[in-house]
Amino acid sequence: MEKVAVDQHLLELYQENNLDLEVSLSWVLGYVQMEKACRLAHLRPLPADTVLEPLPSGLVQEIRGTFPNLKLEEAVHFLAAMALVLGGGE
């Protein structure tokens, strides 16, 4: 497991919706097209209030591999927000 800083407000929204960060990240990552993700160079800065969340190392490696030009926290924040607004899973 690896600890990744995640926006506290986002985590609260996950809890409110009975969603699991690990499962939702893994799900939305399945739809991300790597050749397009690779071209992202930066996203908005991470908010000040963050919580360290443990995520499986395999999943973290997958996120790093999909977004090689982004900081891990930025990519996780982006994916977590995307997954949340898409409903968190199928």
Binding site: N18, D20, V23, W27, G30, P56, E62, G87, E90
Partner: protein
């Protein structure tokens, strides 16, 4: 019968009396009073449903609908699926249904369709790997036995597909892979297209419509089980032994549940809730009723043929007893015969009087 009657005639009359006795006994057993024709109305037949049957079958059907549409049960099922999708499930059920990393979900980490391109968002299950009836290389038995080996792979198919019935979307109905087609060079599916066409809320609406119309959910299976169990218990308690009545009761229960689900979906979100488990149970009972009815009709035909044959034989025997009688073509001939008889009688009387 008189002492000088024919033995053949005697036998025929005895048989006729025996048949009449048999018929009388059957009428008494069936509690049919021929003087009151009202007793022969359809509702007096033992296969007919009574008021309690109608009431309870509708109650059981509506109970099933309540289970299917209950949001708390839906959320509970969703949590089971989420847990079973984690790398390390926390609950026992999550561990039993664990399916993280199965190759029928993602190929090289990505959701794909049956032609290998990226799957459309929200529709990965209908587009790859989740159809046990698929003839292609995405058949879950083929993919998972290739990934995990024969025994574990076969077990994993059941774990994965059962786990997906607990998901928010549900497991697409078997045979969906036969409905693939190509649109703008990309593989898609008729069920997805129909869901998009009835959606009033874009892609999310299409996902919900798909979930309501074309998937199997654990909640639906639970509702089907409840309707089945309550119907069985009712039939056992009353008790109802007539097979036709049993099947009619179940058809009414399943039919009510199915239609109430459809109506609930149409009223709440404008899309019918199709419970495929209930629909399948309904079809099974209808087919059973038709087969049972055909069997009974065949039996009736056999009995009727036997009665017709017996009647024909009886008729022949009756005609045989009258063969010695003379038939005349006109009424005058019969009168002449009477006159002849009278003359003969007069001669006999004269003969005795002379003595």
């Amino acid at each position: 019968m008189g002492a000088n009657s024919n033995p053949a005639q005697e036998l025929i009359f005895q048989n006729s009396l025996a048949h009449l006795d048999e018929l009388e006994r059957a009428l008494v057993e069936a509690k049919i009073d021929l003087r009151q024709l009202g007793n022969l109305e359809p509702e007096m037949v033992k296969s007919a449903l009574d008021g309690y049957d109608y009431l309870f079958s509708i109650i059981f059907g509506i109970l099933g609908t309540v289970i299917t549409s209950n949001r708390a049960i839906s959320a509970f099922c969703g949590q089971i699926h989420t847990d079973s999708s984690r790398n390390n499930p926390k609950t026992l059920l999550g561990k039993i249904l664990h399916h993280n990393g199965d190759a029928i979900d993602k190929v090289n980490g990505k959701f794909v369709n049956r032609s290998g391109a990226a799957a459309d968002l929200m529709f990965h299950r209908v587009l790859y790997g989740h159809d046990i009836l698929s003839f292609g290389p995405d058949n879950p038995f083929y993919v998972l036995t290739k990934q995990h080996g024969l025994l574990r792979g076969t077990l994993q198919v059941f774990r994965h597909l059962i786990a997906d019935t607990f998901s928010v979307q549900g497991l697409p109905i078997p045979g969906h892979s036969w409905l693939d087609y190509t649109e703008n060079g990309k593989t898609t599916n008729v069920l997805k297209k129909i869901s998009e066409s009835v959606s009033i809320n874009g892609r999310q609406g299409a996902n919900e419509a798909f979930s309501r119309m074309f998937t199997i959910k654990a909640q639906d299976i639970g509702a089907g089980g409840l309707v089945w169990a309550t119907s069985k218990a009712y039939i056992h308690c009353r008790p109802i032994e007539d097979e036709t009545r049993q099947r009619q009761f179940k058809i009414l229960s399943y039919g009510t549940c199915f239609l109430a689900n459809v109506a609930y979906g149409l009223v709440t979100v404008g899309v019918p809730n199709i419970n495929w488990i209930i629909f399948q149970a309904f079809l099974k009972e209808v087919a059973g009723l038709v087969l049972h009815s055909n069997r009974e009709t065949a039996q009736l035909e056999q009995i009727t043929s036997r009665i017709v044959a017996e009647n024909a034989a009886l008729e022949q025997k009756v005609f045989a007893t009258g063969r010695s009688l003379v038939s005349y073509s006109s009424g005058q001939a019969y009168l002449n015969e009477l006159v002849e008889h009278e003359q003969k009688l007069a001669e006999i009387i004269d003969f005795w009087e002379e003595d």
